[in-house]
Structures are given as structure tokens and as C-alpha cells.
Symmetry: D2
Subunit: 296 residues, 4 copies
């Protein structure tokens, strides 16, 4: 089976590596060259234009956002270059509006479209342990399951409509940002009473909230170590806004998302563009003017 | 050492039982008789008035809320009846305003005051595995540590000011309610796109949010089983409002708490008084008018 | 008719002056002496204790808040000192909880209780042009109407239950604070695009929002003149919280009030304790970090 | 001077009529024919394609939203058909993103671009009393001022950057929707205490809030008359979202806008698509479950 892979950022590179490691003959393309070398050294074949990566049986793509997906796959002519019957597996976190459009664009060209966004950071991707949401036509999913299994710790089937996988990804990221804002506000309250943030977070994340999300972001918050970003704050805002758009499209109010949006925006206005989502703690602390007090 | 215990609700009863089991000579009092029998059968001694439970070396109390604490301990004369030097360990979830007042009331009478609120439900209390926050004068804490260890899986020292333990308890409960509202909104969004609530929650609580709080309330939400309540919705609202009061007292804005308060109030207005906190899912679904659609 | 007046702050003093000017024989009391002199010079009689001001046919009171009302009227024994049949007209902005309690306390003592909170600042009070909400037993209202008319530009009957007048006062103040926050956020948005706050506010308050509230607070905001306060920011927060309490008591969610509460709290944390409500503009500007930009 | 006018909805039609009445030679185009007849009967000349309306010295356009502006002016080739030096005055309420794009598109073609959005309903437009915000190159504004004065009661200069007029329009509409939500919440609170909505709104809008916005929407709310819409609820949501986008682009948090968005979305989910913005009162009442009580 000939397989293509477009988009070799931190995530895409780790995922593609696992396909090569599983023995697949992989053709790869990336906008910049840096990431390609590593894949080539592992045995992948590099091509100069993305449409050439789309000439096989299956194309995987892991592009950064709606804009990149539109630019490369639609405007860049990749879909136009694919043979009918080819399967495209899109791993990107995109809007449900684009998900719906992509479904139509593939159908019109006789292409099979599978949405397979993932939960997990680059190190989880490298270990092949991603949680992967999978939605699309069952025949296409069946055909690509071995590929997906080479990259994921677990596959979560979400039915035939690709947008379902996308909305679940957005809903999950919305829950992640809420969890972080919740720790930010709660630890600010504790600090105002003289309880150290590290102390408070240690307690919470080793008892009630002993789960990866709380522990990961909680640690960064406790140590006030906001760079380099694990999950960059502007990307978190982007995902919250995509969740709001998905809510708008189906008339679902999301009151928590409104709070998150404003806190994230306030963080950006205060210079957190290059920081991790855990920098939401800075916003809470500033609102309470904690640093001007002698506490904590 | 003579030990008293006031307040034998589901939590207090389980905690007191562990003191008896650890070999302490326990004198107990409760407003209603029902709960007393069990303790007496285990070996505790029952008294008719709460002040008589306060005649020993240490008094534990686990009363329902600010009102009950004021009524029994302050207005009811229990503190007035205690000998100077006696230690009072208060396990209740109370406001920081009352925590501050109690500290003064004890100090004025020469009594030692320890705040020791707990995280955990009655079954955890029965197993002696509570997470217990402990704040107060170090001598008093040292003296009572064996008692506390008989009831708790782990003690979390919070310094000398009792209010610190109380604010941490409130901050923790605020995080719990936020987590539930977050699942409610996110699963409503997923449902609007045809993804079942159970399916969505199973995914989230076995991956990113694999922690007790999400799993417990998530299960109730997935099964739409809101009675009998594990954590009664009106009590959740009470705790969110206590967190807001604590925020007000120290000028700490808590934007998420504002959202929680309104969602909980809306739940109550819709008849959820006897339901579990997970009934927040009903509010989200009603806002999106999910039940009038043909989805999920 | 013998009339008493308790509470001679800026508002009470102006109102009492109008009663004297209308020819009533007025007995006055105030906690501090300063305000009394002016009334005495106009012809009122000063007494040393508040209960003595309550010996006539009608007692008016204009105390600062719940605490002052409880302290002077309930704990201070004023109600206990009043003869059955006496009418008490309470002009203070108080909680509906206290309104309900006062109704009971008066009924138990055979006293007639009228709630008559007002809209208007001291200068409006001095001009006798207050808008006065009036609720209570019709006989008592009939008896006191000439007195009320001496102080008010217009009386707004609100039925027999005193709490109705109080909740309308709170709902009105909630609308006032919302209007101010709305101008604060909107003018911050305009400023971020290079439109001056004064320019924007001039436009809005001379067209769509050409009403006293917008014009008054808008002017202060445009001139960034936040002291001395017309409506002190901490009092605005108090009233928003009373509106929230009133909402809680009858299960009415007030999402806007949650936003107001947090913005006001943030203002206080940033040192606005002695400022006017229009200082909400500082909070909006700080969130957007406007002063660190070169705009406006 | 030859003048064109594109977009003859209720607003555009009234505005164009005033240009004809002022003696201008007007060439008009509209997507549907209905509105054209009236203008022709007044003396305007109708053309079959929009580019032909753009052949004069000045082109006015009053299209419904971003989509219509893009479709007609950009994709439809109108700008491409205009001669260098022609002035285009855009009266539509559009996003600041599109405002910025339009500025570039005009500059690239050597066209002068003036943004001139308006406040006022069709009846105000018909009376020539609109408040018109005007931003653009001073020469173009000078040239078109007589035209603008024929349509507006007052011109409000906003500088050279067209986007400034657009953001002020959005900020103003954001204030309008906030005012309506504020009345909705406040009157729901009053109703829960037995005060009629009409009674409450009459009080507020004849005293503190005696301005057009409150009086207009307040009347609809008091009478629970939500159709036909004066300001259609979905358009209000659109404008709130445009204000949020404008806030996002310049990192300005707008906490009130988050509340508005969710209330409007909840209204839509409950079937208010064809209703007026004042139907926000239905949402507040439903949240408090007012209709299931026996009150009001």
C-alpha cells in the first residue's frame, strides 16, 4: 500500500515516523525542509509538491489549522490531483464548518474522507499512544485501520459523519482549557489567603484531580514556568473559538467558553503570546492584584 | 484521652466510627437519635446535650453548614461550656467569615481551634481514607494527629490560620463544580452533532480526565441518573456561593463561579432541588433545546 | 402630625430638609452631630437617642445599609420603643431578606411598615424631585402620602408587600451598573481602534442613550474623573450583590450580574475603593492593556 | 454629479429616496425588483447590473452584511468596474476585518473609500434624521458631505481610517443589546417578586432610562409583543459576534458580549428566529421558570 503524509510539524513528524516504523512505504511533504530530513533518514521518500504525496492509496494530513488545510489541500490543488477512490485521513483540529465543506469537496471528487483528530502531545505521538477519534465511511475506515493503529494507542469510532470527530476534539479541548482556568482561579483564591499555589495544586492533582491534564498544566502553574509552551496559549484561544463556532452553528450556548475566551484574550493583551495555556494563572493573579500584596 | 463528637450525619457517623474502632473513648451527640444508635452499638457513649460531648480533651464536630455551626456551637453554648485548653477540631465546610469568627471566639475563651475539612464521600470516610486539610496551632495539631490519622488517608497541613483549610476546601469544591459544568456543556455540544453523551463522556473520562471527580459525575451524567444525589445540587450551589464570598472578602474575582452560580440556580428553578450536581447536564441540554430536536 | 427622621447622610439630610420646609414638626437623630446642625437651623428638633425620634405618628429612616438598619432599628431598640399604630417609612436600599424580616418585626409589634426607597442623587433629593417607590399597607401609605410628596417628584406605588419596592430598587441599580459597564467595555473597544473615549461617549449619550444615567456616568468616564465618587464603587458592588441575593432567594439567574460583580471586584483590587462607579472604565482598559499601547 | 445606489432594503430605500428628493440624479440597483419601482417612481434610474450603478462620481451601497458586500462588490466585479477617483460610500454594518480589506481593495484600484454606517431605523431614515458615522479620506468626505447631509440628521466624523466608523457602529449595537438584556434580567427579577413587567419597565424608561433604546425595546417587552421584529434577533447576534471579532483582532476582552451571545443563542434555540431582540425577555423568564409559577 502506498501512503502519503502531508504536514510534518512536531505532531505530524512523530506520527509519520510510526508509519515508517510499521513498515509502510511513505511519501512525505512538508512546507519547510527541516522536518523532512528526519523522515527520509528513517526511510520515507520526500517529494517537492504536496500533490505528489497524494498519488498513493491513502493520504494522511496533519496541517496546523483551517487556513493551512484550505491553502494546501483546496487552493493548492491536492484534492484535485487525487485519483477517485483514494482515502484521505485528516488528523488536523479544524472547524466543523471546514469539516462539512471538506466532506462535500471529497464526495464531489469521488474521494473517501476520514476525520481522525487526536488527543496527545508530541511525546505521546512518538510513543504511538495517541487517542484517535475516527469518523468517516466504514469501508475507508476499515481500509486504514492498520495505519491508524500504527499511530494510536486507541481508536475511538465516532460514526460516519466526519464532523463528529472534529466536534468531539473541540469539545475535549474546551474541557482542557476550562480545567486550566479552573486551577488558575482556584489557586488565586487560595493564594489570597496565604496558601501557596504549589501547595494547593499538589493537593488537588494528587487527589480529586489526579489526571494527566490537571497534573501537566498544574505543574507548570505551580512552578510559574510558562515557556516554552506545551499547548501554546494562542492555539488554545483558537480552539475555544472553534468550539464557540460549533456551538453557534447548532445553537448550543457555552457559557464557560465565554469566560475562557476573555481570559485568554486578556492573557494575550498582557504579552502571553509565546506562553503556555497555564499562563492563565497570570491573568487570575493580576485581576486580584496578588503581586501588589505581600502574600504568597 | 476523652474525645467528643458532635454531628453524626452520613459523614460524621463514618468518621466517628473510625475513632471508636481506633480505640478512643468517644462521647457523641446528634440532633436526631437515629444516627446515635449505631455509634452506641460500636461502643460510644451518647449524651443528651452537645455541651456534655465537649467536656473531654478534644471535641470533633461535623455539622452541616454555617447555620448549624452557629446554632449549636455558639448560640447553643457549647464553646462556653468547654474548659480552657480543650481542643476543638471542626471538620465542617464553612465560610471563611465564620472561620475567622470561630478563631476569635475560641481564642477569647482560651480554647484551641483546628479546622480540618475533608474531601471524600461517606464511603471514603467509612474506609478511613479521607483527604483531610488541617490548619491551626501546631501544638493542637500535634496533640490531635493520632485522632485525625484514624479518620484520614492523608493529612494535608495548611499552616496555623484555620481559615486556610476552609478556603482550600471551598476552592476544591469550586473546581469540582466547574468540572461538572464543563462536562455538561461539552457533552451537550457533542450531542447536538449526534454524538451520544455516554460515548463522549466515556472517551473523556478514560483518557484526559481519568480522575475520580470526572468519572463519578460523568457516569451519572451519561446514565442521566440524577437521583439519589451523591453531592446534592443545592449544597453545590451553597459551596460556590461560599467561594464567591471568600473571593469577595479578599477581592478575588472568580468569573467561572458566576457561570456556575447561574447554571445551578437555573437547575433549581427547573426542579432539581433533590438531584445530584450532575443534573447540570439538564440545564445545558435545555438551553440548546436538545430534547425538542430529533438528535441523540 | 409629629414626624421623626433617623439617618441624616447626604440623602437623608436633603429629604428631611424638605419635610421641614413643608411645615412638618420634625424630630431628628443621626449617629454623628455634623448633619444635625443644619436641620436644627432649619427648625427641626434634635434628640440624643434614636428611639426618641420614634415617638411621633410617623418615623422616616434613611440608613446606609442592612447593617446600619439592623443595628439602629432592631438591636438598638427603636422598633421596641414605638407605639402600636405608628407608621415607619424606610427609605434605605436594603436586601429583600431584611425587607421580609422587617415586615415581620413590625407586624409582630403592631407597627405599620412602608418601604419607600428612592432613585436620585443628593441634588435631586434637595430639589424634592426623587422618584420614590412605595410599598406597604394602603392605610399607612395614604396617611404618609403628603409627607412622601414633600420629598419626591413622583411616587411609584408597588403594592402592599414592602419587599416589592426593595427589589425594584435593586433591579434598577443593577441596570445602572450594567449601563456603566457597557459604556466601559464599548469605549475600550473603540479606543483600541483609535477612537477617543470622549468622542465615542459624546456620540452615544447624545443619540441612542440620551438619558440621565448614561450622560452622568459617561461624562465622568470621558473625562477620566473618578473622584470624588457620585455613586461610590463599593456601594455599587454592594447593590449588585443584593440583586444577586434577591435572585438567589427566588431562583432567578442574573448572568449580567456575575460579570458586574467580577469587574467591580477587580476595580477594588486595583485600588478603586474611593472612586466612582465610572472607574469600571479603568478595569476594561487594563484588561485590554490599553495604556501600554500608543493608542488614544 | 452622477450618483449610484446599491442595496434598496428598508434602510437603503429610505436613504436613496432622500437623495432623489434632494435633487440628485440617482442610478439604482437592487437584487430583487420590488424595491426598485418606488425609487423609479420618484425619479431614479434603474439598471440591471450593479456595476452600471457604479459608473458615476459617487457610489453609495447599503448591503445587508459581510457576505452580501463580498458577493456584490468584490466577487461581483463592481469595484473592478469603477473608474479611478470614484468615491464609494459604504453604509453597511460590516466586520472590521472586511472594513480593512475593503480599504486595501479600494486603494489598490485608486478608488476613494468612505465608511458611513448609520444608527436609526427605517422610519428615522425616511425622515432624513439618521446619525451617520463617517470615516475616510478628507477629500472624499468633503466631496460627499452634501449627499450625506441629505440622508442624515447629523454626521459624526470618525477620522481617516474607515474601520473606525465600523467599530463605533459595532460598539453601539453592542450597547443596545446589553441594554435589552439588562431590562430582560431586571424585569424577570421584579416579576419573580410579583411586580409586573410593564409596571417595572414603565418606571425605568420614564426615569433613569428615558432614552430611545430603552423605551422602544422596553415597550415591546412590556407588551410581550416580539413580532414583527424591529431589530431581528439573529441580526443582533450577528452584530454581537462582530463586536467580539473586533475585540479579538485588537485583544479587547468584552465579558458582557459573552453573556449576550449565549442569551441570544438560547433564544434562537427556543424558536425566536423571527422575533425582535426584545424576545431576550423570554430567555430570562424561562431560566427562572417564571411561567410555571403563578406569579405575574
Amino acid at each position: 500500500m502506498k501512503v502519503g503524509f502531508i504536514g510534518l510539524g512536531a505532531m505530524g513528524s512523530a506520527m509519520a515516523s510510526n508509519l515508517v516504523a510499521a513498515g509502510y512505504q511513505l511519501t512525505v511533504w512538508n512546507r519547510s525542509d527541516a522536518a523532512i530530513e528526519k523522515l527520509v533518514s528513517l526511510g520515507a521518500k520526500a517529494v517537492r509538491t504536496p500533490d505528489r504525496a497524494a498519488q498513493g492509496d491513502v493520504l494522511h494530513s496533519m496541517l496546523a489549522n483551517d487556513h493551512a488545510v484550505r491553502e494546501v489541500l483546496l487552493d493548492g490543488g491536492v484534492l484535485d490531483a487525487m485519483d477517485p477512490g483514494t482515502v484521505h485521513v485528516n488528523h488536523a483540529t479544524i472547524s466543523v464548518a471546514l469539516a462539512r465543506q471538506l466532506q462535500e469537496e471529497h464526495a464531489r471528487r469521488g474521494l473517501a474522507y476520514v476525520a481522525a483528530p487526536v488527543f496527545g502531545r508530541p511525546d505521546v505521538a512518538a510513543a504511538g499512544k495517541l487517542n484517535m477519534l475516527v469518523a468517516g465511511p466504514s469501508a475507508a475506515i476499515e481500509k486504514t485501520t492498520p495505519l491508524l493503529q500504527a499511530m494510536a494507542g486507541k481508536l475511538w469510532p465516532m460514526g460516519e459523519a466526519p464532523e463528529r470527530a472534529n466536534v468531539v476534539k473541540l469539545a475535549g479541548n474546551f474541557m482542557i482549557v476550562t480545567a486550566i482556568e479552573s486551577m488558575a482561579e482556584a489557586s488565586t483564591l487560595a493564594r489570597a489567603y496565604g496558601v501557596g499555589a504549589a501547595e494547593f495544586i499538589e493537593l488537588m492533582t494528587s487527589t480529586l484531580f489526579a489526571s494527566p491534564v490537571y497534573q501537566g498544566y498544574g505543574k507548570a502553574m505551580a512552578e510559574q514556568r510558562f515557556t516554552p509552551p506545551g499547548f501554546a496559549l494562542p492555539l488554545g484561544l483558537k480552539d475555544v473559538m472553534l468550539a464557540q463556532e460549533a456551538g453557534f452553528a447548532e445553537q448550543v450556548p457555552l457559557p464557560l467558553a465565554g469566560v475562557l475566551r476573555d481570559s485568554l484574550l486578556e492573557a494575550l493583551a498582557d504579552g502571553a503570546e509565546g506562553m503556555d495555556l497555564s499562563a492563565l494563572a497570570r491573568v487570575s493573579a493580576r485581576r486580584a492584584n496578588l503581586d501588589q500584596r505581600s502574600k504568597d
